[in-house]
């Protein structure tokens, strides 16, 4: 039952497993859906979706899979034309200038416009573009400029008169939650976990069983309790991220790593550079002057117990690396190579994570060069590479 629906879900990226599908069957057999399509929708959602980010995808697949089965109510089409028109007119009175209103009249007035809106709404559903396409393109519609999208219009819901004009899944309440940046973060966290170094610091609050036994024995059998502080993660990470230029293609991947790292460690400091670190690093990805921090200050503030992780493609013009003044964002008296060597020397535990695939490294001079400087401690930014890098760092 519903095998096609299940497969469509998987194609749409909702990672429902066979086990969950069987659970759904079990729930249906137990009569939990009551032969009511709304109830079935809720039940399927609770069973197959385990993350609010996939709720929107689920709604879309559900709407698509059960489109033919559900007869729309006879007046639904009428409502769709009627209600938003009224709603938009109210809205337009408030926000549109006279000039824009005249433009609307030129387009054939509101009724014509609403028809277009409805058509667009239809194509949008059919195309599965997830509401990202705004009404009106290339300036033909006055609403393009104002940025109304059909979901914002909330057809059939805003008036509260007929909540069923649009089915629940068509309303797509969970659209805002469909963010893909954190996908796979957990895997990365598990890899980063290798880095955790537990140290006992702070107030003694835990019983040290081994210590107690040995001191009790030494105490001629009289109990001598020994306490130790609780274990905390004491690892310190300095993350240097390449930003802008050639790294733009890899921003998503870097962001993932960053989210994962942020949650996994207590002490983590992240700084940014452009292509190659010189005398200045930045605290903010926008590389503004007020966020600048001298590299020497970084070297003095964070001692050798910090672990240094570079994230960057290391692909740049050779001049940027070996020539004074070769830096593209500011003047540098000393070469990038010197600064890199200084950083690597200051932090014995250093790795470089490179989002480019390893096969391509040989084709770029600077990658080969930096890799040599790091004594091969450059790794691909993949699960496997991350794992190897973390092993090198511990």
């Amino acid at each position: 039952m519903f095998l096609a629906f299940f497969l469509a879900l998987r194609t749409a990226g909702v990672k429902a497993s066979l086990r969950e599908f069987l659970t759904l069957q079990e729930a249906m057999a137990a009569g939990l859906a009551d032969f009511d399509v709304d109830h079935f929708y809720y039940l399927a959602r609770a069973t197959l979706v385990k993350d609010e980010r996939f709720l929107d995808a689920f709604d879309r697949v559900f709407a698509e899979s059960f489109k033919g089965i559900l007869q729309p109510k006879p007046q639904a089409g009428l409502e769709m034309q009627d209600l938003p028109a009224e709603w938009l007119r109210k809205l337009a009175d408030k926000t549109l200038t006279d000039e824009e209103k005249a433009q609307i009249e030129a387009l054939g007035g509101f009724d014509k416009l609403m028809e277009t809106l409805r058509e667009r709404l239809e194509t949008q559903k059919a195309r599965h573009e997830g509401g990202s396409k705004w009404i009106g393109t290339a300036g033909t519609s006055p609403f393009g400029a104002n940025g109304y999208n059909p979901e914002g219009v909330r057809i059939g819901q805003e008036t509260g008169r007929n909540r069923r004009a649009v089915k629940v899944w068509d309303e797509r309440h969970f659209k805002n939650l469909a963010v893909d940046t954190e996908l796979g973060t957990r895997n990365m966290q598990v890899a980063l976990r290798r880095l955790r170094r537990f140290a006992r610091e702070g107030a003694a609050s835990e019983l040290d069983l081994a210590g107690t036994i040995s001191s009790t024995a030494r105490n001629a059998g009289y109990l001598d309790l020994k306490m130790v502080p609780e274990r905390h993660n004491a690892v310190k990470i300095l993350l240097l991220l390449d930003i802008g230029g050639s790294m733009d293609d890899h921003v998503a991947l870097t962001e993932q790593l960053f989210t994962a790292a942020g949650a996994a460690f207590k002490h983590i400091k992240h700084l940014y550079f452009h292509n190659c670190p010189y005398g200045t690093l930045w605290k903010d990805a926008r590389l503004r002057r007020q966020d600048a921090i001298p590299t020497t200050e970084v070297l003095n503030t964070y001692d050798h117990t910090w672990k240094l992780i570079f994230v960057g493609d290391a692909a740049m013009s050779p001049y940027e690396l070996v020539q004074p003044g070769g830096g593209i964002s500011s003047w540098n008296d000393e070469t990038g190579q010197d600064w890199l060597a200084r950083l690597i020397a200051a932090y014995p535990r250093t790795v470089w994570l490179n989002p480019l695939p390893e096969e391509q490294w040989g084709y770029t001079q600077t990658i080969k060069f930096i890799r040599q400087m790091l004594e091969e401690r450059m790794f691909e930014l993949t699960m496997d590479g991350l794992d190897q890098a973390m092993r090198k760092l511990t």
Binding site: L32, K50, R186, Q189, V190, L225
Partner: protein
């Protein structure tokens, strides 16, 4: 045994279906949602509605999965051995039961709430996989297996601070409590303040949803904050006129401290109010 909401808790249809599925198929139910939308309260209400005891296990960053099963109190045993207490010969005297054990052993299957599971270490959910799946665990010290007499109804809440492992998620039902729309909100208020004047409620709801729609708020006020605010409005005897007047003259609703919980949000609000006044 079906959950249909209670006098003090408005359950939407989708929530009821999810809860009933979890009860019928005896799987844990994972609840997520904005803070203040009633995740924790849900477990209490289910217990009340079904007439079952509630066992809550509040998870903290230092909580270990083992603590939910049992703990072995070695210190007491060492001390008792010193004093020559007879109890010392039975290790069972020093096994302290955890919340899961209590839940498994109860005569009447209780509602077991595992609150804020994401606060704990990243491995925490994995350590409970087998226990939640089979509803049994092994006590190493006494060599006994604890099995659930009747499978408890398990409600797990999460605030999304950490991702939960897939294997764990596969075993649960999932429900995301979305923020209630105006109608649902109205029925929630009716449940909590039956005597409230409809005029005041309408103005308060308008002010509240307007406030929630302001872009850039750090923490958008939620249901529980709205209820607190209403309570204050009633206690201070603030009339609907005052709430409406706010939209014209000043933008900040009275007693906003109950709604806005950090000073950046209040500043943002004051700036908007200032612009509004200049513009108007």
């Amino acid at each position: 045994m079906r959950f249909e909401g209670t006098k003090t808790f408005v359950a939407t249809d989708d929530l009821k279906i999810a809860v009933n599925a979890a009860i019928a198929l005896q799987r844990p139910l994972l609840i997520k949602g904005e803070p203040g939308t009633g995740k924790t309260v849900l477990a209490q209400e289910i217990a009340a509605a079904l007439g079952k005891p509630l066992i809550s296990w509040h998870v903290k960053s230092t909580t270990k999965a083992q603590q939910g099963l049992y703990e072995y109190d070695a210190v007491s045993r060492l001390r008792d051995s010193q004093l020559g207490d007879a109890r010392v010969h039975d290790i069972g005297n020093y096994i302290i039961r955890g919340k899961l054990w209590d839940g498994f052993e109860a005569e009447d299957a209780p509602v077991l709430l595992i609150d804020e599971i994401d606060k704990a270490d990243i491995e925490f959910p994995n350590d409970l996989l087998l226990e939640l799946d089979r509803m049994e665990f092994f006590v190493y010290e006494t060599r006994q297996t604890i099995r659930a007499r009747k499978r408890p109804i398990i409600i797990i809440t999460s605030n999304n601070e950490k991702e939960l492992p897939d294997a764990f998620l596969r075993r649960c039902f999932f429900h995301y409590i979305k923020f209630p729309d105006r109608e649902t909100m109205q029925s929630i208020v009716d449940v909590h303040f039956p005597g409230i004047s409809s005029l005041l409620l309408r103005e308060a709801l308008t002010a509240f949803f307007e406030l929630r729609d302001i872009p850039g708020l750090k923490k958008r006020p939620s249901t529980s904050e709205f209820l607190d605010w209403l309570k204050l409005l009633l206690a201070e005897d603030i009339g609907p006129e005052l709430l409406r007047e706010r939209s014209a003259a000043k933008l900040i609703p009275p007693l906003h401290g109950a709604l806005l919980k950090n000073e950046q949000d209040v500043h943002l609000f004051e700036r908007l109010a200032f612009l509004h006044r200049r513009g108007g």
